[in-house]
């Protein structure tokens, strides 16, 4: 049990943090999804490392071997990979639709357009009132 011996887990932590950071810090919707995938991948690594027993082989019965790795985490992670693919695919298709609807995949540009939508709804529903000026100010910022 030393730092080098646990290097799988160090990689897991590193990847997890990198992925998480990308999700939080980047404005581009595709980059966010890339970050999310990295984040999920780190968990796959985590499960796979967990099943490995040093000095053991794949869980196929063989007379030469006494120790076998635990196959269950690997099987579980197959499910998680499928889920991850579904999430990424859905996310990307949403980004395509967002690009079609907004003409942009930058979060800040989308936000400006959303505020604009809000403003239009507001104008249509309430007419120009005191709140209108405030919203308009927000938009021009």
């Amino acid at each position: 049990m030393n730092i080098i011996g646990l290097y799988n887990y160090w990689i897991v932590v590193l990847l997890m943090m990198i992925g998480f950071y990308i999700v939080i810090a980047h404005e581009n919707l595709i980059k966010k999804l890339v970050g999310l995938s990295i984040f999920q991948t780190s968990v796959f690594f985590f499960y796979i490392s967990m099943g490995k027993i040093s000095g053991a082989t794949a869980p196929i019965l063989d007379e030469k071997w006494q120790l076998y790795s635990n196959p269950l985490p690997h099987v579980l992670i197959l499910t998680a990979i499928v889920v991850g693919i579904a999430t990424t695919a859905l996310g990307l298709s949403l980004v395509v639709r967002i690009q079609e609807a907004y003409g942009s995949i930058e979060e800040s540009e989308i936000q400006v357009q959303d505020t604009h939508d809000e403003l239009e709804n507001h104008l249509e529903a309430y007419g120009p009132g005191p709140n209108f000026a405030i919203l308009n100010q927000d938009l021009n910022k």
Partner: protein
């Protein structure tokens, strides 16, 4: 046949979903979805009956015994929630027939019903299963299908709302599997019952603590606890009305169930109270959440957003009940879980009926509707009163239990705060009522008529349920008490 009830409940909507794609006739698909959902409902009635008579049901999937195979475990708590989720789903689907036809283009109806049934599968699966990893799978089934349903909304902001929910939801779910993985590392089992047996041996390890932390944060993202609720208002506001009604009434409740299940049946309340100051965290976040989101609700101009923010506030009450950490507190949480589903189901269905008629959910477009759509508006008033907690409605029952639990614990300042926060609910509900009944119409309402029967019936069914369970509390209070007792009993 009866033996297979626990799994049939989940399998029926799971098989129903792809069948929707084969039916292809939009009109038939709607009826088919109602059929599937009501079958699930009937089965959950049967399950509830069995649990009532014989106690906990254990079902082994494919005949594989528990620690190796996946096990479904139906007890007091989840039989009660299965009934709620499948019941609300059926009622909402009845209203969906007309509402979806109006709100979505025809080529999307089939996809809507498919993802609706998948979402139902996921929610019922989370409730029924006794396997920690299976929970994650069902969680993702329900989450992915709800992202789809939200993205089907006609406003383009539905897309960004769905994207935001996807990112937050995936982070939450990933946190949950990290937690499950860490627990598996320490115990070598994924069965919840087994986990509860083996975890006490390793309580002292940092790994279990870490697992607990990851799990709690993940679930709190899913249930929209106050600082993690940012995905919720937009998602509810721009989704098709039917999707909003279904998700608001069920999906966050199922996440609360998951939290309760893990705290009590997996980690054990002793571990939870000694390892982390969870009760304090819940108390503070619950209270801040109630106030911050109730105040936000007051300033919203879209009626769906008003009630979306109010949903987050109601989650705050449930978490507050958990924070008390006594049997009474848990009873209050479970009661509010059930009652809030009834209130929000009513409100969002009634709003859906208005959107059906006038095509808008802007608050001031509701002006003058009191005369045009009296029955629908009366339902909104009833739902609103229930939200405030006026006597004779379900809202009163759960607030009453919450306050009794708080006083019992000696936290009277918190009880006072809960009462004050109810006044905030009075303000936002009153704003809605004022627009509905006491304002001049802003848009031309000449050809607006009362909502069609197919929507009025489900709405009023829920209103009557709101009133009925507000007076006759034998079922709700009885089951909540039993469930709370058994949860506290599992871990001495």
């Amino acid at each position: 046949m009866i033996y297979h009830y626990p799994v049939l409940q989940v399998i029926i909507p799971l098989l129903g979903a792809p069948l929707c794609l084969f039916i292809r006739v939009p009109r038939l698909v709607g009826f088919f979805a109602v059929l599937v959902s009501s079958l699930s409902f009937l089965i959950s009635c049967g399950l509830r009956q069995q649990v009532h008579l014989y106690g906990t049901i254990v079902y082994e999937l494919g005949g594989w015994a528990a620690p190796w195979g996946i096990e479904y475990r139906i007890d007091q708590l989840n039989s009660y929630l299965l009934l709620l989720v499948s019941g609300i789903s059926t009622i909402v689907l009845i209203a969906a027939q007309t509402s979806i036809k109006k709100e979505l283009p025809e080529n999307r109806h089939i996809f809507f019903y498919t993802s609706y049934l998948l979402c139902l599968t996921g929610l019922l699966g989370i409730l029924a299963t006794g396997d920690a990893f299976n929970v994650f799978v069902f969680l993702e089934i329900s989450a992915l299908s709800s992202y789809t349903m939200i993205a089907l909304g006609t406003d383009r902001r539905a897309l960004t709302a769905s994207y935001q929910y996807l990112v937050m939801g995936t982070i939450g779910a990933t946190f949950i599997i990290i937690g499950v993985g860490l627990m598996y590392m320490m115990t070598g089992t994924l069965n919840m019952y087994d986990l509860a047996q083996r975890l006490p041996e390793v309580y002292k390890s940092k790994t279990v603590l870490c697992a607990f932390g990851f799990f709690i944060v993940g679930v709190c993202l899913k249930l929209a606890l106050f600082p993690l609720h940012l995905w919720l208002p937009n998602a509810y506001a721009f989704a098709p009305s039917i999707a909003t009604a279904f998700l608001a009434a069920t999906s966050t409740k199922v996440a609360v169930y998951l939290l309760i299940r893990y705290i009590f049946s997996v980690f054990g309340i002793d571990f939870v109270t000694t390892s982390l100051p969870l009760h304090d965290i819940f108390l503070v976040l619950g209270l801040i959440g109630i106030f911050a989101t109730s105040i936000s609700a007051i300033y919203q101009r879209n009626i769906k957003r008003i009630f979306a923010y109010s949903s987050v506030a109601q989650i705050g009450y449930m978490i507050l009940g958990l924070a008390i950490g006594t049997e009474l507190g848990l009873t209050a949480t479970l009661l509010h879980l059930f009652n809030h589903a009834l209130m929000k189901g009513t409100l969002f269905l009634a709003i859906g009926a208005v959107v059906y008629r006038i095509g808008s959910s802007q608050l001031n477009h509701f002006a003058g509707l009191g005369k045009k759509m009296p029955l629908t508006m009366a339902a909104i008033v009833a739902g609103g009163l229930s939200l405030i907690g006026v006597p004779l409605t379900v809202g009163f029952v759960s607030k009453w239990y919450l306050i009794v639990a708080l006083l019992d614990k000696g936290w009277w300042p918190v009880a006072v705060l809960v009462l004050i926060s109810s006044l905030l609910a009075v303000i936002y509900v009153w704003r809605v009522i004022e627009w509905i009944y006491f304002s001049q119409p802003r848009i031309i309402l000449d050809d607006v008529r009362e909502a069609p029967m197919s929507q009025l019936i489900p709405i009023w069914l829920l209103v009557l349920a709101n009133l009925y369970f507000g007076v006759d509390t034998r079922l709700t209070v009885g089951v909540s008490k039993l469930a709370a007792q058994s949860l506290f009993g599992v871990t001495p």
